[in-house]
């Protein structure tokens, strides 16, 4: 659970940020262009030294959703076990956000995974390639408008018969 001190410091620096709390977990919504500043403050001044995870949610066809994609950044202070969730919402033409690799080395593969599955570009990432899927894959399979069974990629292979073997 994030301390009130951290929340107050964030609000003082960046003005009113939308926050909410659920079962002791604090969530702060950050505007897309302020992400790098907020994270730099978290790391340098509020001692959030661990980036736990980066993931993403596609809110297509989601009830009462305001935005298409919602990035989720999980941070922790390893000394006090304090935790904080940042949310960054993105919409269709502007599917890019600043990379956190300059601040946290561990963001490298996490951001590549989000790019692989959702097609969100991380500006300033040193090596933004697919990490799990084959490189020739073109779609972003965890988007809700991608069919569950794919578009035939799984069966796009040559067939070996007995005498070819």
């Amino acid at each position: 659970m994030a301390s009130q001190k951290a929340l107050a410091a964030l609000t003082q620096r960046f003005g009113k940020l939308e926050t909410s709390e659920f079962r002791g977990q604090t969530r702060v919504v950050v505007p897309r262009d302020k992400l790098l500043d907020v994270v730099r403050m978290l790391r340098d001044e509020l001692a959030f030294d661990l980036l736990v995870d980066i993931t993403c949610v596609d809110y297509l066809n989601y009830r009462n959703a305001q935005h298409r994609f919602g990035l989720v950044y999980l941070f922790a202070v390893t000394e006090t076990n304090e935790r904080l969730t940042l949310r960054v919402f993105l919409d269709e033409p502007q599917l890019s956000v600043d990379s956190l690799v300059p601040l946290y080395e561990g963001a490298n593969w996490l951001e590549r995974e989000v790019f692989d599955m959702f097609g969100i570009r991380f500006e300033g990432h040193p090596d933004l390639r697919r990490i799990l899927l084959p490189e020739e894959f073109t779609a972003f399979p965890l988007r809700k408008d991608y069919p569950l069974q794919g578009r035939g990629e799984r069966h796009n292979f040559p067939v070996l018969t007995r005498d070819e073997g």
């Binding site: 809700k144 794919g150 035939g152 292979f157 040559p158 005498d163 070819e164």
Partner: protein, 186 residues
Amino acid sequence: MAVEIPENVVVSRLDALANWSRKNSLWPMPFATACCGIELMATGASRHDLARFGAEVFRFSPRQCDLMIVAGRVVMKMLPVLQRIWQQMLEPKWCISMGACASSGGVFDTYCVVQGIDRFIPVDMYIPGCPPRPEQLIQAIIDLQDKIEREGTISGKEFQQQSRQQRSRALLELPIVEVPSGATTQ
């Protein structure tokens, strides 16, 4: 024109002799990608003792094997590897598709899981189960031994038959339902 044969000499066909030796020294190539691989290991271990059927020599080099046991789901990134290993194995060779996932994709009907390896490589035996018990794998190996004994020839001419070249299953993709993209909310 009777030929004198001593009592300790057995007359046989060369094909039958080759089949007999092939079926009793199957060297499996374990292509274990999921939980079926655990049952495969149990089959080779002392309790179930695959050595009773002459198939206990698991080799991790495909060039030394003649029986590929595909144990587990195969995803689209793994399939080229599977095909390459299959091609590296020397004739005569056989393939067992072990478990629901290798045979049909199992419950993983998603964009990346191949819906049955028999779409892309020839398969001789299918084992149902999720995962199958070691007894089932042993039964499949016994059945495969019967098959080898029945139809093998030393020249391998049975592999050139037209019926053996046909795929055992048609490549029928499940219908794809396109979700229209566009509006983010209703």
